[in-house]
Structures are given as structure tokens and as C-alpha cells.
Amino acid sequence: MDTVLISRMMIGITLGFHIIFATLGVGIPFMILLAEWFGMIRKDPQYSLLARRWARGYSITVAVGVVTGTIIGLQLSLFFPGFMRIAGHVISLPLFLETFAFFFEAIFLGIYLYTWDRFKKPVTHLLLLFPVVIGSGLSAFFITTVNAFMNTPQGFTIRNGVILEIDPLKSMFNPATPTETTHVIASAYMTCAAVLAAISAFYILRGKRIDYYRKALRLTAGTTFVLTLATSIIGDLSGKFLANQQPEKLAAAEWLFHSESPADLLIGGVLDPVTQQVKYGIKIPGLLSFLAHDDFHSKVIGLNEFPRDLWPPLFVHYLFDLMVSVGIFSAAVTAFFVCIRYLISRLEWNRWLLRALLINGPLSMLAIEFGWTYAEIGRQPWILRGYMKVAEAATTSPQAGSMLVVFCALYLVLGILSSYILMRMASSNPVENEMEKRGVKWNAI
């Protein structure tokens, strides 16, 4: 294998692993905040306990997030020295700011986790969460501006391989920034809500029919619904961004070869790469035009307007479809849950509904992976669109291959261990026992 391919695999695997914990790191503090706040305003210690138990699990996922993040921070220089040498001039500001955001977050998280019963007023402890939520949100924002910059670089000029006239703010606030950062943050919040809803659904399915889990499920599933809508609406704006700024990525996602007006949205299907014909797919007339320009008749640019060697790999179509399907599934399931809960509450714990909520958690996390893989592979062959190709950026070190093996082994161990520890934490300390111990009242349903 050549080192370019190895480097791409390495960064893809590291980021694909990091993003799981990063997503949890961004979204869970927000959910903890919600629960602790509910506990305070409703004077209901069950919500406070919910916050406390989430925070305990969170301390494990954060640790893996920090560890894998540290790895990427250095691996970018190790595996893509050529990229960092050039782009380092431009992206260092957001990277630097991200580190400060982490600092801020890490300090207050340390305080938060160790001061549960230390303050007289509960609101003091709650306030400590704000820096955590803001810090993790800001770090997600800053790091995503880096990725946005790779999609639509601006704010510098390159002459004879030397980078000149750098404008750090202009490159941070590039055309991809608004949609990308908001879509990333919204989807992280949505995913965390969905994962926590899945956990509650899991326990109810296992027969823990108590009011604690009813509250947990209502809170999380309701939040998931709102956040899924937000994510999908912003996703639609991301589509419009692509149509204007990175049309080849959108065209690859939709297997649109000839520019068309109106253009149809394609779902699924099998492509014959020679004839560029699609079999078995479902076409929705005009919907792609709408996704691209808010108008069912507008023209959408096709791949044939780009030189063949600048086409992204065409399998990204499936990644895009899968991501969108999860969005639709999540919106449908949670909307259904919310309606049932208010209208026919005796069906609230219908087993099929609970099962759907259960798989919605892992599915949302998968959507994050699909979305990112689509965004990254859809940029191929560029690492800095229009300026630098991946092949020019990767390392030439002959040891890259063995390092890939070593890190894969590390991620495997970390993944297994952290899941094992999280499951043990939950099973060794069932919530009923903890409520007894803390004198919190609860009822079976």
C-alpha cells in the first residue's frame, strides 16, 4: 500500500473514532444541563439524579475524547506534514482557539464533577455547567471552521508554493462555515438526545417500569424531536450551500451527470458506471432542484461539467442517502412518540415504539459517521479544494503502515474497554438502589 492511502486510512479511522466521543462530548453537557435545570425548577430530585448519572458516564467518554483528540492533533502533522506546512499558516488560529475552548471546558468539567454536594445553593452547581456547554460548543465550532476551510478555502494566496496575504478571519469565516458548523453542532445535540433516549427505552424494555425512566424518556425523546427538525432544516441549507459552492459534491451524492432543470432526487439505486444509467432507484421529481435552490424548477449542475479526474468517488451517494434516511426516521419516530404521549398515553410504552427509539440512538451516531465520511470523501481528490491534492499532502514515512496497525489496535482496545466500563457502571449501580440510598422517592408504573 502506498503511504498516501495509509495516511488517508489513518486519519479517517482516527477521526471516525474520535467523532463518536467528540459528538457525545459536545451534546451530553447540554442534556445534563437540561436535566439538572428540570430538577431545580420542578423540585424533583429524580431529574437531578438523572443529571448525576449521565455525568458519571460522561466522565468516561470525555476521557476517550480527550485521548483520541490529542492523537489527531499530532497525527495531522505526522501523516499530513505537507498539508500542515501550507495550511498551518491559515488554520492555526481556529486550532489555537479550540485549545483554549478545551482548557475552559476541562477546568469547569473538573470542578463540576467533583462538587456535587459542595454548594449551598443548587444553582451554583448548575451554573458551572454553562462554561462546559459553551466550551465544548465553541471547540466544535472552531474545529469545524477548519474543515469548512478545507472545503472552501479563502483568505490567502499561493504564489510559487509560498502562502501569502493571509487573512485569518476571512479564512475562518469562509462560505462553508455557517452551514457546516451549525449542522455539526445541531447533529451532535440531536445524537446525544437520541442516544440517551435509547438508553431509557432499553431499560423500560427490560422491565424497569418506573417513573424515573418515564421522565427520562419523555425528556430525551421530546428533545430529540426538536433537534432532529433543527438538524434536518440546517441540512437542507447545507445542500443549498453545496449547490452553490461545491456543486461536484452534491452531484456525486445524487449521481447527477448532466446538468438538469428540474433535477430529480434519487434515493438508492445501482449505478452502471459505463453508461451512467441508474437502475432500481426511486426518483422524486424536482426535489433535488428544491434541495439545491429552494425552487422545484431550478437548474442543478451535473458532474460532466467537471474534468473526470476531479470527480469524487461515486459511492458517496449511499452515504448521503443513509444520513438523510436517519434524519427522516428519527423525526418520524420521535414525532410519533410525542403525539402518543399526549394523546394516547397508555400506548406510550408500546414495545415497537420503544424498540424504534432504541435503535434510533445507534442510528443517529451512524448518521454522524455517514455524514462526515460523505463530507470528507466527497471532497476528493482535494485536501484543500482547488489548491492542494491529498497526494501532495501525505507523509512519505515508510513506517506509516505499522503505525496504522498500532493505532487500530489501540482504538479497538479503547472501544471495547470503554463500553465494558460504561455497562459495568450502569449494572453495578442500578438506579433503584441509588434512589433508595439517596432517599429519593420513586414509583413503579
Binding site: S59, A63, I71, I86, L93, F96, I107, M403
Partner: protein, 338 residues
């Protein structure tokens, strides 16, 4: 002051912050393992986990800050070091990953298993050894550039007396810094037994610290005479450092003012670190990279400095709060509150 000097000074101070906070952590790992093996474990472990648990992520961010910052201010470093250090840096990352995650796993998830203890102790020695080689490499002689290929001579690194003396120095410094800090902390927590053990350890490691420093000086003379002579020009930093060192030893022997003693240790290392750093300039990597020519554009440098000032305004109050709640809070230290 020119931007590149401001930049490198800021980064150097952060690296210093990492050296101190991480040394406390690394040494603690070793002491805790050693204590367990020799049956003195429990109380030392209690002191250690009390101080370390709220702080380890903050320690880690110091390191991240340094390497993100150096690539930001001096992007050329990414190219040279990044290409050359694939293996050593990956190993350091691996060790850091094992340490960080196992720390959290065992602390929150599972009370002390034996293998965790071993890993915690061992990585505490291996990480400083691995990280210190980066400073060794920066002295030149281990990386060469031919045309566009950069090669790292691992064999030369392993064969070099300088490299081993730096590793030695790093290890004994870790022990010394950590033991003096933990003595202070045990004293404040009124844990007399732990305090006495830790105080003896601190004294035990004081002499090797000085020997290793002298050894490193001599080895540097062989490795990079030019740097050595610049160090001689900056010698008063090192004399100051020696004075602080003597003060620590004095206080430890007299069993007095451990707090001031630890401040002296910090100053001892600060002066030595600063003297070393100042005489290392202008080179970031001898003889290929000097700070002036590898710096990013002035506009970016200015933006980074502003970001840094803004960051500090957030950072200083919050770290003060952290320290006041955990380090300087008598009830927390004594274990009255958890």
C-alpha cells in the same frame, strides 16, 4: 519584541506548565506503584488521587496547547518534525492514550486493579522519556535532509550519550518535582505518615537531579558545542537555578515551609528551562529551522497573540478557581468533602 520571540516565549511557558503539572502526575504514578509494592501504598494513593483526579485533563491540554501552538506559529516545524518523528511521536501518543484512558476507567469505573496500577506507574516513566527525546532531537544530528526527503536516524539517537543523559535528567526531575509537591500536599492534608515517606523520597531524588543536570551539560558539549557556548553566556540562569535547588534541599532537611519549598522547585526548573530555551534560540531544529525564517505571516502571528491574550483572560480566573477549590481548600485536602 518581535512576534517570533513573543510566540516562542508563550509556547515555552506553556511547555513549562506542562512539565511541572505532568511531572507531578507522572511521578505520582510511580510512587503509587512503588508504595503498593512496598506496602506503603494506601495513604500515598489517597493523597495522590485526591489531587490528581480533578486536574489530569487540564494537564493534558497544556501539552496540546504547546504542539498546536508551535505548528501555528512555526508551520515549518510540522513538516520537519512531523516527517521525522512518525515513530517516536506515535509511541508517545500511545502511552499518553493508555495513561489517560486507564486513569479515567479505573478512577470512575473500577477500583484499582493490579494491571492498571502497573500501567499507571510504568507510563509515568516511559512518557517523559519519550517526550524528552524531542528536545534531544532538536539539538541536531539526528535528522538530515537530502533534497526533499527528511530522514530520522534512530540508531544515532539510541547510540548517543547525550540522548541518554537527557532521558535520565527527565526521569529524575519527574521524581524530584513530584515528591516535593506531594510532600507539601500531604503536609497540608495533615497526613504525617505520608508526609514523612514523601519527604525522604524527595531528599533521595535531590542528588541524582543535580548529577543528571551536570551530566547533560557535559554531553551537550559533545553533541552541540555551539549551543553549549550560548548556554555559558546565559550561565546566570543556571546559577540561579542551583541556588533555588539548594534552598529546597535545605527546607526539606529542616522539615520546614514545604509550600515555599515547592515554589523553589518551580523556580529552579523555571530558571533552568528558561536558560536552556533562551540559549537554544534561534534554532528550533539545528541547523535547519530558525525561528525568524520559519515563522508564519506577521498577520497570523498577531492574530494568534491576540487570541492568546483573550484566552488568558478566561483561563487565569478559571484555573484560580480550580486551584482554590481543590488545591488550597483545607477541607477538600483533608478528605472531609469529596
Amino acid at each position: 519584541m518581535p512576534y517570533e520571540l513573543i510566540g516562542i516565549s508563550v509556547l515555552w511557558i506553556f511547555l513549562y506548565g506542562y512539565v511541572i503539572t505532568a511531572s507531578i502526575d507522572f511521578g505520582a504514578g510511580f510512587f503509587s506503584y512503588y508504595g503498593k509494592m512496598t506496602g506503603k501504598g494506601e495513604m500515598i494513593h489517597a493523597v495522590i488521587s485526591r489531587y490528581l483526579s480533578p486536574v489530569w485533563e487540564v494537564t493534558n491540554v497544556f501539552l496540546v496547547f504547546f504542539f498546536v501552538g508551535i505548528v501555528g506559529f512555526f508551520p515549518e516545524t510540522a513538516y520537519y518534525y512531523g516527517t521525522a518523528l512518525m515513530v517516536p511521536a506515535s509511541i508517545a501518543l500511545l502511552l499518553l492514550a493508555i495513561r489517560g484512558s486507564f486513569y479515567a476507567f479505573s478512577h470512575y469505573g473500577n477500583p484499582k486493579s493490579h494491571i492498571y496500577h502497573l500501567l499507571y506507574g510504568a507510563t509515568g516513566l516511559l512518557i517523559p522519556a519519550a517526550l524528552s527525546t524531542v528536545l534531544t532531537i532538536s539539538e541536531g544530528g539526528y535528522i538530515s535532509k537530502l533534497g526533499n526527503t527528511i530522514t530520522f536516524h534512530a540508531g544515532a539517537l539510541f547510540a548517543s550519550p547525550y540522548s541518554w543523559s537527557v532521558v535520565c535528567l527527565a526521569l529524575v526531575s519527574v521524581m524530584f518535582i513530584s515528591a516535593t509537591f506531594l510532600t507539601y500536599y500531604a503536609n497540608k492534608a495533615n497526613d504525617r505518615q505520608a508526609e514523612e515517606i514523601l519527604r525522604t523520597w524527595a531528599l533521595f531524588w535531590s542528588l541524582p537531579t543535580i548529577f543528571a543536570s551536570i551530566l547533560t551539560f557535559m554531553a551537550l558539549y559533545v553533541q552541540n558545542p555551539e549551543h553549549f557556548s550560548r548556554m555559558m553566556n546565559n550561565s546566570w540562569w543556571f546559577i540561579l537555578s542551583l541556588a533555588f535547588f539548594l534552598n529546597v534541599v535545605r527546607l526539606l532537611i529542616l522539615k520546614r515551609s514545604y509550600g515555599f519549598g515547592f515554589v523553589s522547585v518551580m523556580l529552579q526548573f523555571f530558571t533552568a528551562f528558561w536558560g536552556y530555551g533562551a540559549s537554544h534560540l534561534p534554532y528550533l531544529l539545528y541547523p535547519y529551522l530558525v525561528i525568524q525564517s520559519s515563522m508564519t505571516s506577521p498577520k497570523m502571528a498577531l492574530a494568534l497573540i491576540w487570541a492568546f491574550i483573550g484566552g488568558l483572560c478566561l483561563f487565569i480566573p478559571s484555573i484560580t478557581l480550580l486551584l482554590r477549590l481543590f488545591l488550597f481548600n483545607a477541607n477538600y485536602r483533608k478528605g472531609v468533602i469529596k
